[in-house]
């Protein structure tokens, strides 16, 4: 955060060397550019989802009359309406809402860890990093449950056409995988696994990185180094994971 741009000799550009024109260290800068490239990857996935979705017919009846069929794209809130321990109740998007809340909270604890790092407060960094890790693991556990529910499926099966031994047959299907899908057209399940899976893997990597930072904090690596910039860098990654979820939440679950 040191604005070293002002500290240049007259007649010399900040880009001539010896100064950091962007006021950030190499590591932090590279984290920013990595995140930018990662944003392109996620955009690719989400935009392709939009493209494929819009090329399929939408369900044109009343939402109350909606049933699963491979003829049209499903209404997301009719697919994601289950909550653990509340089997049989229709609670659309409640569980994803809880997951969103968990990720926002873990973003706050991360930023509090960064703030504590600026003050060289090792104990506070340890505390907030631990909460961030707890938040990440909770989110991943929620996602594991959601995936299991999606794969296993609802109580009532859907009739789906499948190509078996050289001919088309119609069979009852519950749940979904990369080959067959009870909720709607096949790409719907494929995108669910790819988009939430790719995001989930980012969360998983984030938890590992957060743990590494926590470990280094506890062993006093950053205290000896004299600064907690690593907390900031990994913090940037962690906030990005939260940012991506905001977009996934809107474009996969809400719209």
């Amino acid at each position: 955060m040191a604005h070293s741009t002002a500290a240049t000799a007259p007649g010399k550009s900040v880009w001539d060397g010896g100064a950091s024109p962007m006021g950030a260290s190499y590591g932090k800068l590279m984290m920013w550019f990595f995140l930018l490239s990662d944003a392109f990857t996620f955009s690719g996935l989400l935009i392709t989802y939009g493209l494929v979705r819009s090329s399929h017919p939408a369900f044109d009846g009343l939402p109350e009359a909606f049933t699963f069929s491979t003829e049209y794209w499903p209404i997301p809130e009719k697919v994601f309406e289950a909550v653990p321990f509340l089997h049989g109740y229709s609670l659309p998007l409640v569980f994803v809402g809880i997951m969103t809340f968990i990720l926002i909270m873990s973003s706050v604890t991360m930023v509090l860890a960064v703030e504590a790092g600026h003050r060289m407060d090792r104990k506070a960094v340890e505390k907030w990093m631990l909460w961030t890790i707890v938040g990440g693991i909770t989110f991943l556990s929620c996602q594991a449950w959601e995936w299991t529910h999606f794969i296993v499926g609802t109580d009532a099966p859907t009739l789906v056409k499948d190509f078996v031994n050289g001919q088309w047959i119609t069979k009852e299907v519950t749940g979904a995988n990369l080959h067959i899908n009870q909720y709607g057209p096949q790409p719907f399940a494929d995108f669910f696994f790819f988009i939430t899976g790719f995001h989930g893997f980012h969360v998983f990597s984030g938890v590992l990185l957060n743990f590494l930072i926590y470990y280094n904090t506890v062993t006093g690596v950053y205290e000896r180094r004299g600064h907690y910039e690593m907390v900031e860098k990994v913090g940037l990654y962690w906030h990005f994971v939260d940012l991506v979820w905001v977009f996934v939440f809107t474009f996969f679950y809400l719209v």
């Binding site: 392109f40 955009s43 509090l112 060289m120 407060d121 057209p185």
Partner: protein, 107 residues
């Protein structure tokens, strides 16, 4: 703190109450916007207006996360624009894909 003689003496500064309060305010805004999104999801009928509202609210949330949590708002302007301007390519990608989608045979 210093268990070994070679460890430097560390001065721990007190928490910046003002800053921490601001961070919680941002968290509250993010939560509130999500709550509004939920409200819209179950009260508005499906259409262009609903989607547009969702997109706007998502951009609001993204701005708070990137600007405040990731601190980009307070970075040097060169860094700020170096990150923001390339995201225009995402808009281009969106337009290109949608155009491609309109001219593509239906599945």
């Amino acid at each position: 703190m210093a268990h070994h003689s070679h460890e430097p003496q560390v001065t721990v500064l007190p928490p910046d109450k003002e800053k921490i309060k601001k961070l919680w305010t941002v968290a509250f805004i993010l939560g509130a916007v999500t709550a509004v999104e939920f409200l819209i999801a179950f009260t508005m009928s499906h259409g262009v207006a609903k989607t547009a509202l969702f997109v706007i609210l998502t951009i609001v949330k993204a701005a708070y996360i990137v600007g405040e949590f990731m601190h980009l708002k307070y970075e040097v302007k060169v860094l700020f624009w170096s990150i923001l301007i390339p995201t225009l390519f995402i808009i281009w990608m969106l337009v290109a894909f949608v155009y491609e989608g309109m001219t593509m045979p239906v599945f």
